[in-house]
């Protein structure tokens, strides 16, 4: 544990110093400013659109941080072969993975927190300007959605470490992460389709059904962490849902990090 924390802090500082963060912050800032103008064009549910824009900005920015900064945190060491220097230190490969993951998680938590402050500020400005159009609104729902988004981003970042451990370049890690994100967000809908294809008037082969069911348990179901719709309409989210989903996220992340450590221990560096 003693060796993990310094590595996590170094990883975090490396991420914070990455210049891509400035670009991502600028995109986020523009979206949040745009929130005021876009929401103002909505005739009725200004509150819902405001919250949608704020939460989507956080999710999108978090995703960009993982893709452009997170992947580089480990993949860069592999690409530039500086990994040899790192592994010559008295630190095991598993500790290296774990330390990097902790650093990345810290970067995500801090980044999301800062983004959330600006996002909530944009919501507050709209709420004060268009108060009459904020009928179904709750700050606690928004904060819960931000928490779920954070857990989802940490889970996704754990997968980048797994992919980096088994692939040879950062580009392949990037592509696999994007594919996993897309599959993860679509899994629930696709599974519902194959479970009851007659509802939409299509036929699906048994092999497709089998593959979808396997993928459903193999890939992370990221849509479970998407409660932006519930937050924007202030719809109730049960405590059991919160509990089971967060537990799923934590366990899946642990599984992925453990797999990454195992894969990285066996990896040969040429």
């Amino acid at each position: 544990m003693i060796t993990l924390w310094p590595l996590a802090v170094i990883t975090f500082k490396e991420g914070i110093r990455n210049r891509a963060l400035y670009g991502i912050s600028l995109i986020a800032l523009l979206l949040l400013i745009g929130n005021y103008f876009i929401s103002g064009m909505i005739p009725q549910e200004v509150g819902k659109v405001t919250v949608d824009m704020a939460l989507s900005t956080i999710t999108l920015s978090g995703l960009l941080i993982i893709l452009f900064i997170g992947i580089n945190l480990m993949a860069k060491d592999l690409d530039k072969r500086t990994i040899y220097m790192v592994l010559s230190k008295p630190i095991s490969r598993s500790q290296y993975i774990l330390g990097k993951f902790l650093g990345m998680s810290l970067l995500i938590i801090v980044s999301v927190s800062v983004l959330s402050i600006f996002a909530l500020l944009s919501v507050l400005v709209n709420k004060l300007t268009f108060a009459a159009y904020f009928q179904s609104f709750s700050w606690s729902s928004i904060l819960l959605a931000i928490l779920f988004n954070t857990v989802m981003l940490i889970l996704l970042s754990s997968l980048t470490f797994l992919f980096a451990s088994i692939t040879s370049t950062s580009f392949i890690t990037l592509v696999l992460t994007i594919i996993t994100f897309v599959i993860g967000q679509s899994l629930s809908v696709v599974k519902a389709l194959v479970d009851a294809p007659e509802n939409v008037g299509i036929k699906i082969s048994p092999i497709t059904v089998l593959f979808v069911r396997i993928f459903y348990y193999l890939f992370p179901n990221l849509s479970l962490f998407n409660i932006n719709l519930q937050a924007s309409h202030n719809l109730p989210v049960s405590w059991s849902y919160i509990w089971w989903t967060l537990l799923y996220g934590i366990v899946y992340t642990m599984l992925v990090v453990a797999s990454s450590a195992i894969a990285f221990r066996k990896k040969e560096f040429l």
Partner: protein
């Protein structure tokens, strides 16, 4: 000197590109445009392609629908909106509602434009009914659907059912219940009207409206009694009564009822029973 020339050159380029942009945009607007497709995308495919951003995708599709609707108002009157264009607007609003079925605005705009403008009442009602299944706290959608059934489709019974549903939802205006009762009365469904009125009284917390509803319930029960008495008179004497006093004269009733405001009842030329205080009974009132 050199830096001044460079700065001047940049300024000239900026001005030139602004001018050229305006010219190119004007030329683009003059290009012949193909008709936009009216294909409806399935909700599942929409959700998959949203990749977790359903809410904000619904918002942008709705904004696109608004801009598209706005283009209808920019054209001259001699160029009417085509059915395919109305269908495209419907598809855009439908897509937005499919991505976020709790979003009020697509339903609101659809009802305001597609019914009056395009005559797409059944399609609009189908969209509103989807909204009603999700927005279970909102009385506006059943009210709007009820209005469409009553005004456009001339289906009073369905309209009454929806108005009753609207009046049962939280923060419903007493207008909805009032209208349902008025329509029920015209349908001569006194029994349903009485039941609905009793439900209304049970759920009304405001003393002013409760008192008004109780007066109305009393009148409705009197009308129900008189209708049964008239029916008994017809069965016994094979002819309708000339007026309600005949019911007392022929011993069908001991005496004629009077409402709590001191008014009586009469038989109108079409054979319907009316209250003397019908105007106050049927008037739509506003909250104080």
């Amino acid at each position: 000197m050199r830096s001044v020339l460079v700065a001047l050159f940049i300024i000239v380029l900026v001005v030139t590109q602004s001018f050229l942009l305006n010219k190119a945009t004007a030329e683009f607007n003059n290009l012949p445009q193909a008709d936009e497709p009216t294909i409806a995308v399935s909700p599942s495919l929409l959700k998959i392609s949203s990749v977790g951003f359903e809410g904000v995708m619904a918002d942008f599709i709705f904004l696109k629908a608004l801009v598209y609707l706005g283009s209808f108002f920019e054209r001259p009157i001699s160029e009417p909106v085509k059915i395919s264009e109305w269908k495209r607007l419907y598809n855009l609003l439908r897509s937005s509602a499919d991505l976020d079925p709790y979003f009020l605005d697509p339903y609101y705009v659809a009802n305001g434009t597609l019914t009056w403008g395009a005559g797409m009442v059944k399609e609009t009602n189908s969209l509103l009914e989807q909204g009603m299944r999700y927005r279970t706290w909102d009385p506006l959608l059943p009210f709007l659907t009820g209005f469409n059934y009553y005004y456009f489709l001339k289906n009073d019974s369905k309209a009454i059912e929806l108005l009753k549903q609207a009046s049962g939802r939280p923060k419903a205006s007493p207008l909805y219940a009032d209208l349902a009762v008025k329509l029920s009365y015209k349908e001569k469904r006194i029994e349903n009207t009485i039941r609905f009125q009793e439900f209304l009284i049970q759920n009304e917390k405001d003393g002013y409206f409760r008192k008004h509803f109780e007066i109305r319930l009393g009148i409705l029960k009197d009308i129900q009694l008189l209708e049964k008495a008239v029916q008994m008179y017809r069965q016994r004497f094979k002819t309708p009564p000339n007026n309600l006093n005949d019911l007392v004269a022929r011993h069908i009733l001991m005496r004629l009822p009077q409402d709590s405001m001191g008014g009586g009842y009469y038989l109108d030329p079409s054979g319907d029973i009316r209250a003397d205080n019908e105007e106050s009974f049927l008037t739509v009132f506003q909250r104080k």
